[in-house]
Symmetry: C2
Subunit: 343 residues, 2 copies
DNA sequence: TTGTATGCGTTATCAT
DNA sequence: ATGATAACGCATACAA
């Protein structure tokens, strides 16, 4: 048989009408047990699989769109994995588009999603305005790990996370605590929130924020570490009055800091403490052993999928769109230690 | 307007028949320029997007299925990114399913792909027999980075890769070169091919393969490193007569070896040289600096997508299904060094 | 060149 | 409880 069997083939094979087959497929209770069995056997015999495309012409699609700028980002890859897993549990499929850094390409990929009439779109990275306008109000939008004004965002409490980081460092006796976020693609709002948490943490600890301890110039969004990022970092770390501890806006940045520090002979944690953010898998490797702020990825995934399928009200109690923030968790490893004693 | 506009809405708005709209959409040259413009304007005005599901009932689907067991595996994530990018360039979308380690779940995810009538399925991980049988002959199957008998497989030349690794180590004066592959999920055939390349490399170098220098017990497939994997590794590395150099079947295994060696105080590369396989992103980090065998991921992605869209004959000259193997590349970093002088 | 009619596989409505 | 039939949105063969 060249082409896959249709519901009609099943019906005629089972000697019933296609309506009955459909009823069996839909799990309707009104169908007689003997007929149900005949249909089930026919399906099995013919290897029939319902055509999802045809089905979605009459029913709500069970496909969820995921848009991410860079799957190579371990945090995104891990989050996407959890999302797919939970979506599958809820009988939904994932149409994945990765947009890369080019804005036009982004629109084209998002357009593809709307043409597929996905039930909802989940954004792991902030889309451009153009791309966002494409999607229209009939398709549900949920933002994960990033913040989008006027839209439902589900994320870790970024500010609380960096506050936690500062608190941890302050408890270790650090006074000169810096913050670096530059040039590694992430949502600007997220960066801002994490910086805010850092500021807040400093205030609570009774510490002052010095401009010289900050590295925040924002480069191209959604981009790989630029070749000269290491140089910038080295210059920052090479300063006479450099911080004794650093809060990195993401683990990826922390990884770069480690490289720069190594190159400069600055020992971590002996003479520089470092806290990351995200707790990507490699952070736990013995060579890295990064103290970091872990995101509750499974909860994030569950909530975002629920919101995508059931609507915002299913996860947000009040009047959506309201954002919901989950608590972060400090994971202490070996990149942080007691502040060096004053020389 | 509650529901998205259809081709009929566009037609009536433009004052033409739906056929003309369709013709414009299909890029037919036969349509009058003035009508084409009217249609295009109407589309723009209404924000019309063709319904892909409905379209695919008459045309070949432009959705490609990707099945992977674990997106957390950096090699898979990177490969998937390239695949999506090239598929997009060819105007196709990616329906992604991640199967995890459970076999039944695997079938369910693959079933979902066939119900969506994807144009082709691309396997980044070896599926179980059950899952494979589900998919039937009308859906094209391509295997990437793994080997499947009787099917089109596109992969790096695994044997050549590990041979390269051995050659590199032998050139550095190593005699006792081991091979470890145990317990980190991968296709058994791939493991076998890489081991074969190791053996061949040893033979060419005039070196003998000793059983004691091998760690190949295969644990659960498709699984995360088990908790006691470190223990096994430490025991292996702690032996009196351990190899002075190791070929790891994948970078992920190499990462584990590094941890174990560190824990034992075995210095890399001074007293143990190590070569990985895949060249995942983290391998280039200064703390890891892993000498490894790089796969031509972009070429892999391009070929597999072409094969998925155009059929096996588009990439394989002869009579498909034939497998095609791409040459690997040795990337030398700092995990390999001259063999320690005999004591 | 443009419009009309039909089919694609499924669900949903409505008689029976 | 079951079956006939009308949508669903689009492409295509054919007629005009």
């Amino acid at each position: 048989m060249r082409r896959p069997p249709t519901i009609i083939d099943v019906a005629s094979y089972a000697g019933v009408s296609k309506s009955s087959v459909s009823n069996v497929l839909q799990g309707k209770r009104t169908v007689d047990e003997t007929i149900r069995k005949r249909v089930l056997d026919a399906i099995d015999e013919l290897g029939y699989r319902p055509n999802a495309g045809a089905r979605y012409m009459r029913q709500r699609s069970k496909v969820l769109g995921v848009v991410v700028d860079d799957l190579t980002n371990p945090f995104h890859a891990e989050l996407a994995t959890y999302i797919e897993a939970y979506a599958a549990k809820r009988m939904h499929s994932i149409l994945l588009v990765v947009t890369g850094s080019q804005l036009e390409h982004q629109s084209s990929r998002v357009r593809s999603l709307v043409e597929h009439r996905v039930a909802a779109m989940m954004f792991l990275s902030a889309p451009g305005k153009k791309a966002l306008e494409l999607v229209g109000p009939e398709i549900r939008k949920v933002f994960v790990g990033i913040r989008m004004a006027k839209e439902l965002s589900i994320a870790v409490d970024d500010s609380a996370g960096t506050s936690l980081a500062v608190e941890h460092l302050a408890a270790l006796g650090h006074k000169k605590i810096g913050f670096v976020s530059a040039m590694l693609g992430n949502d600007p709002n997220v960066e801002a929130a994490r910086f805010k948490g850092y500021q807040h943490g400093m205030r609570v600890a009774g510490l002052g924020v010095e401009e010289a301890h900050l590295l925040r110039e924002v480069g191209a969004r959604n981009s790989e570490p630029s070749p000269n990022y290491q140089e910038i970092l080295k210059q920052f770390l090479g300063r006479r009055n450099r911080p004794t501890a650093l809060v990195a806006a993401l683990d990826r940045v922390a990884l770069e800091i480690i490289s720069a520090a190594d190159a400069l002979g600055i020992r971590i944690p002996e003479s520089l403490s470092l806290v990351g953010f995200d707790d990507i898998t490699i952070a736990s490797h013995s060579r890295i052993a990064l103290t970091t702020i872990a995101q509750p990825m499974k909860d994030l995934a569950r909530l975002v999928v629920d919101a995508a399928i059931d609507g915002p009200s299913a996860v947000a109690g009040g009047k959506p769109p309201a954002s919901i923030f989950l608590p972060p968790r400090l994971v202490v490893r070996r990149s942080t230690a007691q502040a060096p004693t004053k020389r």
